[in-house]
């Protein structure tokens, strides 16, 4: 007997219905959501550039990197560069991931959603780090080049890393993690496709 809804349409409707409350909850908790990726981004920057990264400050969802890089300010004064990043811009994969798991009625939600959320952290930190690096190594290149020692190759790498972290990773990472942890839907779709061949 033909089912009233295919596996895909059922998944799509449920994903939409779960995405709205998941996004709303995530947005309400945004100040807490930003803490883990902000911590990781600061740790990575401190480890990679210990000479000029002093730490970071998180206000709401905006994280400011505290650096020892000096830049000329207005009126000939010298200031320290403090690039900012909105952590939330790179963290919306979390509600999408939760909606996908819920939409496929995944078994073991209690461990898959927390594990998936942790697996998303490096991708979110990537976005934050490259947003800072873009401001330091590309936009303020003239003032910081002698201090950071970034060459042309580094600058291109930073620009590509930023684009990757802004345009692809926030949406792609949750899909890949979801598929890695639960590919039951893909199997169901393939079976449904083969079964429909005789119709």
């Amino acid at each position: 007997m033909r089912q009233p809804f295919s596996v895909i349409s059922g998944f799509f409707v449920r994903a939409l219905l779960w995405l709205i409350p998941a996004l709303a909850l995530w947005y309400l908790a945004r100040a807490y959501v930003a803490v883990a990726p902000a911590w990781l981004a600061e740790a990575v920057m401190k480890a990679l550039f210990p000479f000029w990264v002093h730490g970071s400050e998180l206000h709401g969802t905006t994280q400011t990197l505290i650096t020892g890089l000096t830049v000329p300010g207005a009126g000939g004064q010298i200031g320290e560069l403090a690039p900012e990043a909105n952590v939330l811009t790179y963290a919306y994969g979390m509600p999408l991931l939760a909606a996908l798991f819920l939409a496929v009625r995944s078994k073991g939600l209690w461990w898959k959603i927390p594990l998936g959320t942790v697996a998303l952290l490096p991708f979110q930190a990537w976005g934050v780090c490259f947003t800072w690096l873009l401001q330091i190594g590309v936009r303020a290149a003239e003032a910081t080049q002698a201090q950071t020692r970034f060459d042309a190759f580094d600058t291109n790498l930073i620009a590509a890393g930023y684009q990757l972290g802004f345009l692809l990773l926030p949406t792609l990472a949750p899909i890949l993690i979801w598929l890695a942890l639960d590919h039951r839907l893909v199997q169901q779709v393939l079976v449904e496709g083969a079964m429909s061949a005789g119709e």
Binding site: A15, A160, L172
Partner: protein, 174 residues
């Protein structure tokens, strides 16, 4: 699955880096984005005659409120993800090509809806626009990519099963 992931990721990085190069930006990305703005304006003009487009900007000529279609909002990255996913999946090239053409149309149709809704949200509420622009529509476009990919895989499975059945019964596959 591991083979699919590896091919998909390698292809995606190659396509993405290619997209960022100046010739591709100049000859494909910018003209496509301009075309999107123009197509959005034509669609909106059927019910709102004050809307115009110039370059990659969609604007209300009366109020001055408008949106500029930037990288990430032209649907190209979503199409690249789909292209890499279809190419990485073990299927016949004819099926992949069909999926790429239909998938492109499906993603860009939803993207037109995104541009138009964001255009009206921008005129209504800055915070609603920001939420929909940065978070909601990003997730919805990716969900669209996943659904198109699943529908295509279902179709491929159906075609392959029919072909295998015909081969087994001594028939000729179409």
């Amino acid at each position: 699955m591991v083979r699919f992931f590896i091919i998909f990721l390698v292809l995606l990085v190659v396509l993405f880096v290619g997209e960022l190069t100046p010739p591709i930006q100049q000859w494909i990305v910018v003209p496509w984005t301009t075309l999107l703005a123009s197509a959005s304006a034509h669609l909106v003009q059927t019910f709102d005659t004050h809307v115009i487009s110039y370059g990659k900007v969609l604007q209300n000529a009366r109020t001055g409120v408008g949106v500029s279609i930037e990288a990430g909002c032209n649907g190209i990255e979503a199409c690249l993800i789909l292209l890499a996913a279809l190419a990485a999946y073990p299927a016949r090239w004819q099926a992949k090509l069909t999926g790429i053409v239909i998938g492109f149309v499906a993603i860009q149709s939803v993207n037109l809806l995104r541009i138009i809704t964001l255009f009206y949200l921008a005129g209504w509420s800055a915070s609603a626009f920001e939420f929909a622009h940065l978070y909601l529509w990003q997730a919805l476009i990716m969900l669209d990519v996943v659904v198109v990919w699943l529908v295509w895989m279902r179709w491929v499975a159906r075609q392959e099963f029919r072909r295998a059945h015909l081969d087994a019964s001594g028939g000729v596959a179409a």
